[in-house]
Amino acid sequence: MTTTHTPTATLDARASAGWLRRFARTTPGVIGLIAVIVAASCVVAGVVVGGQLDSRIAKGDAVLDHSEPFAYNAQKLYAALSAADAAAATEYLSGGLETAPMRARYQQALADAAEALTDATLGASDAQTRTTLAQISAELAAYTGQVESARANNRQGFAVGAAYFREASSSMQTSMLPSAEQVYTEALAAVDEDQKAVASLPVVGLVLLLIVLVLIAVGSLILVGRTNRQFNMGLIAAAIAVVLVAAWVVAANVFAANSIEASRTQGTARFEQLANARVIAQKARTEETLQLISRGDITAGEKSFGDRIGQLTALLQDENAAGSVAAWTASHGRQVELYQGGDYPGALAQAIGPDPSGSAALFASIETSLNDAIEQTRTTLRDDVSAAGTRLSWSPTGTLVLMVIAAAAAVVGLWPRLKEFL
């Protein structure tokens, strides 16, 4: 049965291996061996370095196509949910006769949330994140139901409307928003990971290039010893090509790293800072309206509002919105003054009235300004990551081509030496 393993075949294999060993000790054998080893190592190093550069470009594409859009949508989801709650609260406070713009703001927030949920779900690769998003989706459906129950009861003059609204807001604040925040925080961390990967130096590839150089040097020395000739031009050309590749790889990586650094400080870090500021502003606004809805002791609410404004001011000190935050704080101060003085309608007007110097208008201007800044930061981030990709874009092909040229140079350069013996 074992036809392939006849004793003859084994003998043949042993005989040819022996012949190869003997041939390798002869000068033409050594020259041939050097040519094969140098050419092969050049090609292998070229493939490995090219592959490593390729994976960095792929990481950059992953930031642009996947992790950054996901983080953006997660952020948008959080902001939209929070905005929906703030809009519903304002609408509730305004009494049975909801004004059209308030209703429109609530509807817009729900539409934003639906967009963000769909886009985020598409970008969520792991089952756990998708489960969290699905849970938010289910809770959002229940939330809108409760808000409509609140509205229907409110129109009939039933106090149970307020209870439905409190239930809705409570599920928003204690369940949906924390879930959305978690998704968003993890998404931003993933963006940062991918960005770092784009700029990392391909160490394995560089070490391989160094090994190739050492092999060429050793080969050249052996050749000089065996043939009593000067250094082989082919091997020198191969060495130059390898050095060129190494220089290219390092330079491209340094440039890419610069772009990535810019994308992280001007992009990711600022994006995170602005998005945090937006979240804190929304929380402070909800706090402000809830004080008027619960209409009780506001000591705890005031402390929390003050803390949030403190954080907001610290985050936004260099931003356009800083002035509006100060104005808003002043407007809130007037609201509290009116409230403490027992002038509830006055406090209500200060908080949700149409006055351009009132809290509602100032909050809207902060929200708009933060939203614009976030969009702008997003563009910066994407441009920088894309620039990093451009810096690397030709490097895999270039590396491979140069390394094949190096291999060819070695073979072509050694061929005349080998031919002298044939």
Binding site: T2, T4, L93, G95, G96, L97, A127, R130, T131, A134, Q135, S137, A138, E139, A141, A142, Y143, Q146, N153, N154, R155, Q156, G157, F158, A159, V160, G161, A162, A163, Y164, R166, E167, A168, S169, S170, S171, T174, S294, R295, G296, D297, T299, G341, G342, Y344, P345, L348
Partner: protein, 320 residues
């Protein structure tokens, strides 16, 4: 032999590669059954209502000062100087204290009573600053001086009288049951094995906890939260003072009914900080005036006539 093993390995590799790929993991979502914030099942005994004491007896009023002329150095004089009487009320109990959604204003028997007390001090019922306090916040709000008075369906109990002072009762409520029409609940005994809602920190919850056998109890923040839980099918009944219940009933007449005999009487008093005895006497004097001059009757007609015909104001009793 080696070839066979190699062939077998190759076959294995091929078949495993050709097998149907596992479907991507599907997400599972638990159904959303939202309850009002802070709702929880009550497992431990709430603070007991009534030890042995004459809970309705309060401090006897002295000569009643005229509005705007409070005795110097008294608590009322401080309030007069401040310009507003700060009163803790409810915003979610129909008939006693609720917000009119159309106007945003608070209204009800308790709110009107607070205005009358402001009239007694200032001569002007509008010099009142209404602050919403939850049932559980009532004692602390008084003790920490956030409010001068609490007029908020505040049952007088011996336990509470250790922490705050009460006026004479201005209304006597009866604890009854508000159940869904098809629940089969007719009396307190029928509550066995049912789910019942009450506000945390109330005497109603303590009375329900004392029932034997004890129903499954849910504690919430406000009475309207109980109505939400009934409408969402999370509890079968609510039990508390009849006036509170009729306020809830008015919001869902079609599906709910008020049943059962009284589980207990709940005299409502105006809560005052324990140390402010002069204010207790002043409020009692003002309440006496309202009983006599028909103001009490007027407030009853304006707010509670729809519940039952007026039983007349509860009699004042003094502890000396």
């Amino acid at each position: 032999m080696k070839v066979r093993i190699a062939m077998a390995l190759v076959m294995l590799a091929l078949t495993s590669a050709c097998g149907s790929p596992e479907a991507p993991q599907a997400v599972t979502v638990t159904p959303v059954n939202a309850m009002p914030g802070g709702a929880e099942q009550v497992g431990t005994a709430p603070a007991a209502g009534n030890a042995d004491c004459d809970r309705e007896a309060s401090l006897r009023p002295g000569p009643q000062p005229a509005p705007g002329a409070m005795p110097p150095g008294s608590t009322m004089a401080n309030i007069l100087a401040r310009g507003r009487l700060i009163v803790g009320v409810d915003q979610s109990t129909n008939l006693f204290g609720s917000r009119n959604p159309a106007t945003g204003q608070l209204e009800g028997f308790d709110v009107d009573l607070a205005r009358e007390l402001a009239r007694s001090i200032f001569g002007d019922p509008n010099r009142v600053d209404l602050r919403v306090v939850t049932a559980a916040q009532r004692e602390t709000a008084l003790q920490e001086g956030q409010v001068d008075l609490v007029v908020r369906t505040y049952s007088i109990t011996c336990e509470r009288k250790k922490k705050v002072a009460f006026s004479t009762p201005y209304y006597v409520a009866k604890q009854r049951i508000l159940a869904t029409k098809n629940s089969g609940i007719r009396t307190a005994a029928d509550l066995s094995g049912k789910r019942v809602c009450a506000v945390k920190g109330t005497t109603s919850l303590a009375a329900l906890f004392a029932l034997d056998p004890r129903p499954t109890l849910y504690g919430v923040g406000q009475w309207t939260d109980c109505l939400v839980m009934v409408q969402q099918g999370q509890v079968d009944a609510i039990s508390t003072d009849d006036v509170v219940l009729s306020g809830l009933l008015a919001q869902d007449r079609r599906n709910l009914e008020l049943v059962g005999a009284s589980i207990g009487d709940e005299p409502y008093g105006v809560g005052v900080k324990l140390e402010n005895q002069d204010l207790v006497r002043f409020v009692n004097g003002a309440l006496d005036q309202m009983r006599e001059d028909g103001t009490w009757e007027r407030l009853y007609q304006a707010n509670l006539q729809q519940v039952a015909p007026s039983p007349g104001p509860p009699a004042a009793r003094y502890q000396d």
